[in-house]
């Protein structure tokens, strides 16, 4: 009796098939490792929250100190202490909204330079957010103090005010234009170091657009002392907005409004 090899399913063939499918998926989804980085940060935050240590609490405490610092001598220490937490926040919350930019770079460059180019894009993006983080950490303590002194607002009510501001900004006529700008691309050269220079520039430009679009909820989060669960909710909303909502949608305004209401209720209780 003859056996046709094609009709026999060897286990290694199945393994080989799955390997090929995984390789294909990774090739077609270059954004996977930005999501993986974000996932790792989230895992760390959630595990830390569960065990009541470091991460979430440390982020919260660091930023609590950031917003309560008054003296110049403590400022540098506050910034450096809070900056790590801020950068983790950027990785956790903002990397998942960069699919389009990562794919643009990944498919614009030669395959051998793909991963390095994506890494440099993310570096440029994070650097600009870091500058913003420094500015926020310098300005917000004074703003927070001003609100507390002038209107006798608690931290919860200050956070609620910031989320209400975010909700209001969604209704600005210029909002559509800034949302549309999130889809901006630029030509990426493939000649040697130009590839990396363009990736860096594209990352920085993207960050500037993102800051323009998302500064209000991020500031609200800082004023809310980076409460991990609030961060998670805001991240889910930002991802939903980026990939599921038409750029003219006002739905996010209601979501920010609900968060503001949540902080007001917490304060009242």
């Amino acid at each position: 009796m003859r056996i046709h090899l094609d009709s026999v399913e060897f286990p290694f063939r199945r393994v080989s098939h799955y390997k090929k499918q995984i390789r294909l998926w990774l090739m077609l989804s270059p954004e996977w490792w930005a999501w993986a980085l974000s996932g790792l940060v989230w895992l760390w935050l959630l595990v830390s929250l569960e065990f009541g240590m470091a991460a979430g609490n440390s982020m919260s405490h660091e930023h609590q100190s950031m917003v309560s610092t008054n003296t110049l001598s403590n400022l540098a220490m506050t910034i450096s202490g809070g900056l790590g937490a801020w950068m983790l926040m950027v990785v956790a919350m903002m990397f998942p909204v960069l699919n389009e930019q990562i794919r643009h770079v990944a498919f614009s460059v030669q395959r051998k330079r793909r991963e390095a180019s994506i890494a440099i894009l993310l570096l440029g993006y994070t650097l600009i957010w870091t500058v913003a983080g420094v500015l926020f950490s310098i300005l917000l303590p004074y703003l927070s103090q001003l609100l507390a002194d002038t209107f006798a607002l608690s931290n919860n009510l200050i956070a609620a005010s910031a989320f209400l501001l975010a909700a209001t900004l969604v209704w600005l006529p210029s909002r559509c234009k800034t949302m549309t700008a999130c889809a901006r691309t630029m030509p990426i050269r493939i000649q040697g170091w130009h590839t990396y220079a363009d990736s860096l520039q594209f990352g920085a430009k993207t960050a500037l657009v993102c800051i323009r679009t998302c500064w209000a909820p991020m500031v609200a989060l800082m004023l809310a002392h980076h409460d991990t669960l609030t961060m998670l909710v805001v991240t889910v909303l930002l991802i939903y907005q980026r990939y599921r909502l038409p750029h003219q949608s006002k739905m996010l305004s209601y979501a920010w409004g609900m968060l503001a209401l949540g902080f007001i209720l917490v304060d009242l209780l």
Partner: protein, 460 residues
């Protein structure tokens, strides 16, 4: 159910165009604030207050209403076909109601202009009713047209031979219907049908038709798009082809105004079957049937590796008013070098190769540019080196940051697989460089300019 007829095959004594003309005149007399007016319908496709053709359109609807319903046309997106189908359906309903109100027939339907009909020597010329008489007594005539005839190579139907609906020519083959996008889609590759013949016809006629912000003010626009809509059905009827079967496409909705001026929303899944769209319609000679979505390969993940860039320009390239020549340094990775070596014979099954024009920005309404590869220095036998043409339809709009565009410009791709295979057999083939030549089809207007951000070659 209505039948949309071929405008060149309307029987003698048919009054379809006569009533269309009367309806256009009537709709033009309505204020721009009326959603059933000619101006409002045109502005839903595109509007720019400072363009001369829009002077006199005031009073306009509120800013908020304009933001909600105007400038909504979908280009460089997989929503291109369904959005325009919805747009046409409500426009046809409004015109038909206007005709009834004027005392005309109750069964008026929008005709289509089949400019690709090679059996009709007049097919590529705008139907006479739209050009004669050439004065304001003719509702179908407008002065803002540059040409009444379209070159033959701008109406070819290679798009019908493409199988997948979705694809951008980078991560997969270039699709019939355009790349997958969100609503905000600025700067993505134009799909095969959208590029040719759709964009090419717009730009070949030029004038109002050459710019999305004014195109729908020309009565011929609607017959052109009826033909594009018909070609979508022709493509489906060939078999082994399907619309996207995923929720992101099927359930995406757009707002329009019906004949009573009320806002209505339609989703893509609701317009797949034309016989169920509003009062239903079919195209003359084209049976309407929709393959069951979810059955065909289009919705499955592609089973091939994405294409890879093998050459790209390193500076933005302004296109001149005469010829623009550019050398692309070929840098294929080791595993692709064989595909770019000189060959003895033409390969009957060439590798997929696409020439991309990315981040195209510009001003005004530039002419179409014809693209040639490796043209000999003396321009001899240039036609054998023809790669395709670029339309730049809506380039100024795509270059300007706005509520609907990021300002990144346009993206076109030409399938050069067969041409590359042929060029490799020619004596002037150079393994290290590909020469790209671009020539305007007609002299550019003074205010028109185009800059191509990057020209790149992608290979499977």
């Amino acid at each position: 159910m209505r039948e949309r007829k071929n405008v060149y095959e309307l029987p003698a004594g048919d009054t379809t165009l006569e009533w269309y003309s009367k309806a256009v005149v009537e709709m033009k007399s309505r204020p721009t604030t009326d959603p059933t007016s000619w101006n409002y319908q045109g502005a839903m496709h595109g509007f720019q207050a400072n363009l001369p053709i829009w002077q006199g359109a005031a009073p306009l609807p509120s800013e908020s209403e304009q933001r909600s319903y105007w400038n909504r046309c979908q280009h460089g997106s997989w929503y291109f076909l369904p959005w325009h189908r919805m747009y046409l359906a409500y426009f046809e309903q409004i015109v038909a109601q206007t005709i009834v109100d004027l005392g005309g027939p109750a069964d008026w339907s929008l005709p289509f202009w089949n400019y690709s009909d090679t059996t009709n020597p007049d097919a590529r010329t705008i139907p006479p009713a739209f050009t004669d008489p050439a004065n304001s007594t003719n509702g179908l005539w407008i002065s803002e047209r540059n040409s009444d005839t379209i070159p033959a190579n701008y109406v070819t139907l290679g798009a019908l031979g493409v199988f997948p609906y979705t694809g951008d020519g980078i991560t997969s083959e270039l699709g019939f219907g355009g790349p997958r996008t969100a609503f905000s889609h600025s700067g993505r590759t134009h799909g095969r049908l959208e590029h040719l013949p759709h964009d090419m016809v717009h730009v070949a006629i030029g004038g109002a038709m050459g710019d999305p912000r004014t195109a729908a003010l020309d009565p011929i626009f609607w017959l052109h798009h009826a033909n594009i809509d018909r070609l979508w059905q022709v493509w489906l009827n060939q078999g082994n082809r399907a619309n996207p079967g995923i929720a992101a496409w099927l359930n995406f909705g757009f707002n329009f105004h019906d004949k009573d001026g009320n806002v209505q929303m339609l989703t893509c899944i609701e317009v797949e079957d034309t016989t169920n769209l509003l009062s239903g319609y079919e195209y003359q000679g084209v049976p309407s049937s929709v393959p069951e979505t979810g059955m065909l390969a289009d919705i499955e993940p592609p089973n091939e590796m994405p294409l890879e860039v093998v050459a790209a320009s390193n500076v933005a390239q302004p296109l001149s008013s005469k010829k623009t020549r550019l050398g692309l340094g070929l840098q294929p990775p080791r595993n692709k070098r064989m595909k770019f070596m000189a060959a003895e014979e033409f390969s009957p099954v060439p590798e997929s190769t696409f020439l991309h024009f990315e981040n195209i920005t510009g001003t005004g309404v530039p002419p179409a540019y014809d693209v040639y590869l490796n043209v000999p220095d003396d321009d001899g036998g240039k036609e054998a080196h023809y790669a395709g043409s670029l339309a730049f339809f809506g380039v100024e709009e795509a270059s300007t940051p706005s509520d609907h565009h990021s300002g990144s410009g346009q993206h076109y791709a030409l399938d050069v697989s067969e041409l590359m295979s042929q060029l490799r057999t020619l004596p002037n083939w150079k393994e290290e460089q590909l020469d790209v030549h671009l020539e305007p089809n007609s002299p550019p207007a003074e205010d028109a300019s185009v800059v191509v951000g990057r020209i790149s070659l992608y290979s499977a």
